[in-house]
């Protein structure tokens, strides 16, 4: 005979797997530190690539302005300013990355716990083992 409780639980689990499976289970393959460091490195590469692209564009379109400033302030003045801008932007972007990745990891962990609890409940239903609370009663 069909067991409505089991079917509901299995459907719940299947829906959770379909919606969140790819993101949640992938995250759970990593320790938190490994997951965040991986993303920080990727963010560093992405940000640096963007900064290089923007600098190349600025150099191409504003060559005369750039050379005029180098004449006025010298190489060190201009490059220090570029360095400070790059560093400040990088720091902000890495902080945002850290914050987003930490929140995602936490959410994925919570999701996995919920998933595991439902799996346990389903397994108990198949094995016929009562829940601890029911057994105590």
């Amino acid at each position: 005979m069909l067991n409505a409780g089991k079917i509901r639980l299995m459907t719940d689990l299947a829906i959770y797997e379909k919606r969140n499976g790819s993101s949640v289970f992938k995250i759970n393959n990593f320790y938190k530190s490994d997951y965040i460091i991986g993303h920080l490195i990727a963010s560093f590469a992405r940000y640096t690539l963007c900064a290089l692209l923007l600098m190349a564009a600025a150099f191409f379109f504003q060559t005369d302005v750039l050379f005029a400033r180098i004449n006025e302030e010298g190489f060190s003045g201009v490059f220090t300013e570029i360095g400070i801008l790059y560093g400040a932007g990088l720091l902000a972007y890495l902080l945002i990355t850290y914050w987003v990745c930490s929140a995602r990891y936490k959410k994925a962990k919570r999701g996995t716990l919920l998933y595991a609890t439902k799996l346990k409940r389903l397994s108990r239903k198949y094995c016929g083992v009562p829940r601890r609370r029911d057994a105590e009663q």
Binding site: R46, C50, L53, L54, F61, Q62, D64, Y93, T97, V100
Partner: protein
Amino acid sequence: MTGLLLIRDKLRAFYSDFDVYIRPLLRLVFALLCLLSINGYMGYFPLLQRMPVVLLGALFCMLMPLGMTAFVAAVFVIGNMAKVSLVSAMVAAVWAVVVGLLYLGFRPKQGWVLAVIPLCFMWKIPFVLPVVLGLAAGAAAVVPAVCAIPFWFLMQYVHENAEAFQNAVDFNVLTQEFAALAGGVFRNSYMYLMILMFVLCILCVSVIKRLSMDHAWTVAVICGIALEAVLGVGGGLMLGGGDLLWDLLGLAVSLGIALLYEYLFFAVDYSGTEKLQFEDDDYYYYVKAVPKIKPYDEDERRE
């Protein structure tokens, strides 16, 4: 009004039965709308105007995740710009790559917002978006909004000054055109006003709708519309950037869509609110439960 809820439930059931076909179809329609609107607005490149090319782009978007539509739309915009002004095409390409790397690397699921914002500006109804984005996408929609608005103003500048560009591959001409472009786009105070309006409105709506007070969604919509009216319409009139008739029409449409969205996705009966308080070993719980409005009687449905 319960008729609307019945239609909603039927649509939900239909969607859950045929979502495998409906999703790609919606992506195809959205991509076609984007690409045809871009070609209608800045159809400078004959190759991109041809229907097979548009269909090919739309079919590609249909097979890819929704965020990819923004990428294909950007390719169409850059292609069209390149026919008029190499400088603006280069600036647009740099902007698209930077946004793609910095933003889409994080949150590709909201890439569609990048495509939908220029689309609404093109249709002269930008005021429809902030409130609906605040309700549907939440505070995270601020980032794609801030990225997409300058891109739209770049498109608008190129469209309005298409005849002034020489499109010569000469270094001096390129730098002069870049200076004019930078002045025209990045010193446009109306653009900053629009960015401010989108940011404040999305944040305001997404924060208020999460409050536990009664009628939070309605209050959020009203606050969002008020902000749009003051900042968008009022500020636009002061800066001479908006079109009063279209702006008011956009506000009215925005209000209608937002209220419809609220009715369809947050139909609750505050008169049946129940407040509960209980505790377990670790916490005290203060729970407020608001019943959803159902278009049918549950008991009758079971029978």
